[in-house]
């Protein structure tokens, strides 16, 4: 599925004691396309607006202007219920930071996208992902017992479990070693190879070797390279 952003921007209010409240654009008005079968890498300094753009693309954050189109359909024109269901079916999002549900095991966390809407989980896919990400032995462990990198890989497996058409990964390899970083990028590259539209926000320079397209963000302004 093709994800298209038309003239999207995001404006935030920022409290400032000296100058009072004023607004600024975390993402300046920009067009952006995420094509099927490609892996797009987005780089940029901290605070440049990468996560903000990614959240708008994923239907989690309403743009201050512009539209986000999934195969031509305006994502934010849908009511919340449908937009959420779309996200469940077609999007695999890996947010920044730790995102495991504490009361569930690793395997249950990975299968969660299925159970939200009461669907039959794809156990083989879960098995395969856990092998590839080297967390097979942790299937029954609770998140509290895991390391940061293990939690991160659990989140990646959860995002990929439904073979989503759109993958939005926000620093997916932040706390991984080189070996696991390479494994994750291979996974994402394979997903793109299988037809997914993949966006990876990262600081890793190694990511360039997997990138079909490269963008840079600077103070809310997006530029293609």
């Amino acid at each position: 599925m093709k994800l298209l952003a038309e003239q999207v921007s995001k404006e935030f209010l920022r409290e400032n004691r000296a100058k009072g409240t004023n607004s600024f654009f975390a993402v300046q008005e920009t067009d952006f396309a995420l094509e099927e079968g490609t892996l797009t890498v987005l780089m940029g300094r901290s605070g440049s607006g990468k996560s903000t753009l990614l959240n708008m693309l994923g239907g989690l954050s309403i743009p201050s202007s512009g539209r986000v189109l999934l195969d031509g359909n305006d994502l934010y024109a849908l009511p919340d219920r449908e937009r959420s269901h779309q996200r469940n079916r077609h999007f695999g999002m890996i947010p920044q930071g730790q995102t495991a549900l504490q009361s569930l095991t690793v395997l249950e966390n990975i299968l969660l996208p299925y159970s939200l809407y009461g669907e039959e989980p794809d156990a083989d896919r879960a098995e395969e992902l856990m092998q590839l990400l080297d967390i097979g032995s942790l299937r029954d462990a609770k998140p509290a017992e895991l390391s940061g990198g293990e939690l991160r890989r659990t989140a990646i497996a959860r995002a990929l479990i439904r073979r989503p058409a759109v993958i939005l990964a926000d620093e997916p390899t932040g706390d991984l070693d080189d070996e696991n970083t390479a494994a994750v990028f291979r996974l994402l590259k394979n997903a793109a190879g299988a037809g997914a539209s993949v966006l990876v926000v990262t600081h890793e320079n190694d990511a360039m070797q997997y990138a079909d397209r490269l963008y840079r963000m600077h103070a809310g302004v997006l530029t293609a390279e």
Binding site: R87, N88, R89, Q96, G97, T99, S115, L116, P121
Partner: protein, 402 residues
């Protein structure tokens, strides 16, 4: 492999201590409201039943009986005792204007000594004129009471067909009355002939406080309802002014002491319940808010994975409802287990007429208490559910990246 994961349940079992505390709290709330309302309604029932059993608006007794405050003890407290006045007084009272239904009763107390099976208050009524006891006995015993047949109160350890001996006279238990929650539960009822025989025998055995008593010539008390068009007040005053050596009393006045302490107990119960509830609801509200706040990030993750706003709210509400149902059932069961088996203990502790409501009412009270428990937990979590459904996942996931 788990197919469908119930998030609310997993969240509850994942935090057993917090869940246990919340369930106990809901149970406590249900317990207080159910136990409290059963006690209050039992007291009301008791008073009601006492009023009904007294059955007459006016009671006329010999003047001496009132001075020793014996009367109230006998009628209300279940103490035993007796007093008498001449028959002639009955005729005088009956002749007064405004007297409608009128009937005399004879009292006797059985001794605890060897002559009698049990020490009880014996009340003899006149089947010809009686309007207070007969309607009530009829419920347990259809026929008129034969001589030497007795009807026993519900608390007495005697059963239909048993023989009880009073002052050497054998009496057959013809019927046992339903529980009234009043002192009548420990009394024995007979017709005039029987009680006269018993009184005679007690005098013969020199076991009566009144020697040379001729039961044919005395009565213990006279029960009166005013005739149509006359107020209780008028009749009471008329008798007190015109008939000497007796005292007419409004039965309402007699039990006003009881109604007062009853409303006192009710008030205290209501205040206690209110205090427990206020505290409980505040704690529940805080607990739900805290438990949801500390999981904000998890809820944001659920949004990322594809939960709608409504689904998040439903997770929170279902957690609360589960707690409400389990806590409610536990609390209601506890309340019934405490109040039902120990109701006679509560009765003696309170020293007030106490009659458990009928099964139907009990069930209704229990269901109401359960509903309240569920409703309160739903309400206590509603705010959290709403706030969680409004959260902005993008904002939540930015903060505190641990």
């Amino acid at each position: 492999m788990a197919k469908k994961i119930s998030l609310p349940l997993r969240n509850l079992t994942g935090k057993p201590v917090r869940t246990a505390v919340l369930i106990s709290l809901t149970a406590l709330l249900t317990l207080t409201v159910l136990a409290g309302s059963i006690i209050v309604s039992s007291l009301r029932q008791g008073l009601h039943s006492l009023e009904a059993r007294l059955g007459a608006d006016i009671m006329v007794v010999p003047y001496e009986a009132t001075t020793k405050s014996r009367l109230e003890n006998i009628v209300l407290q279940g103490n035993t005792g007796y007093f008498y006045m001449e028959n002639a007084l009955y005729d005088k009272v009956a002749a007064r204007e405004g007297v409608g239904q009128i009937s005399a009763q004879l009292y006797l107390a059985s001794a605890s000594a060897g002559c009698c099976s049990v020490p009880v208050q014996i009340i003899g009524f006149d089947p010809e004129t009686d309007f207070t006891i007969t309607p009530w006995i009829k419920k347990s015993y259809g026929k008129p009471l034969a001589d030497l047949d007795i009807v026993v109160g519900n608390d007495l350890n005697a059963f239909v067909g048993d023989t009880l001996t009073f002052y050497g006279v054998d009496c057959r238990v013809a019927a046992k009355l339903d529980k009234t929650g009043t002192s009548f539960d420990t009394a024995v009822f007979t017709n005039q002939n029987t009680i006269k025989a018993l009184i005679r025998s007690s005098v013969d055995r020199k076991m009566n406080d009144f020697q040379k008593l001729d039961p044919d010539k005395v009565v213990s008390c006279i029960l009166i309802n005013p005739a149509d068009g006359y107020s209780v007040e008028e009749v009471v005053n008329d008798i007190n002014i015109h008939v000497k050596k007796v005292k007419a009393i409004r039965t309402k006045e007699m039990i006003s002491g009881i109604s007062e302490s009853l409303s006192g107990v009710s008030d205290i119960t209501v205040i206690l319940i209110a205090a427990v509830w206020l505290l409980g609801i505040v704690i529940l509200l805080l607990a739900f808010t805290m438990s949801v706040n500390e999981r904000k990030r998890e809820f944001a993750v659920l949004r990322v994975i594809g939960s709608s706003r409504g689904m998040l709210a439903s997770v929170v509400l279902r957690e609360a409802l589960t707690i409400g149902v389990i806590g409610g059932i536990a609390g209601a069961a506890l309340a019934l287990l405490i109040v039902l088996p120990f109701n006679s203990l509560i009765e003696t502790q309170l020293g007030l007429p106490f009659l458990l409501p009928a099964a139907g009412t009990l069930i209704a009270l229990t269901v109401a208490a359960l509903l309240i428990a569920v409703l309160v937990s739903a309400l206590a979590s509603a705010l959290s559910a709403y706030r969680i459904s409004r959260l902005d996942p993008a904002v939540i996931l930015r903060g505190d990246q641990t």
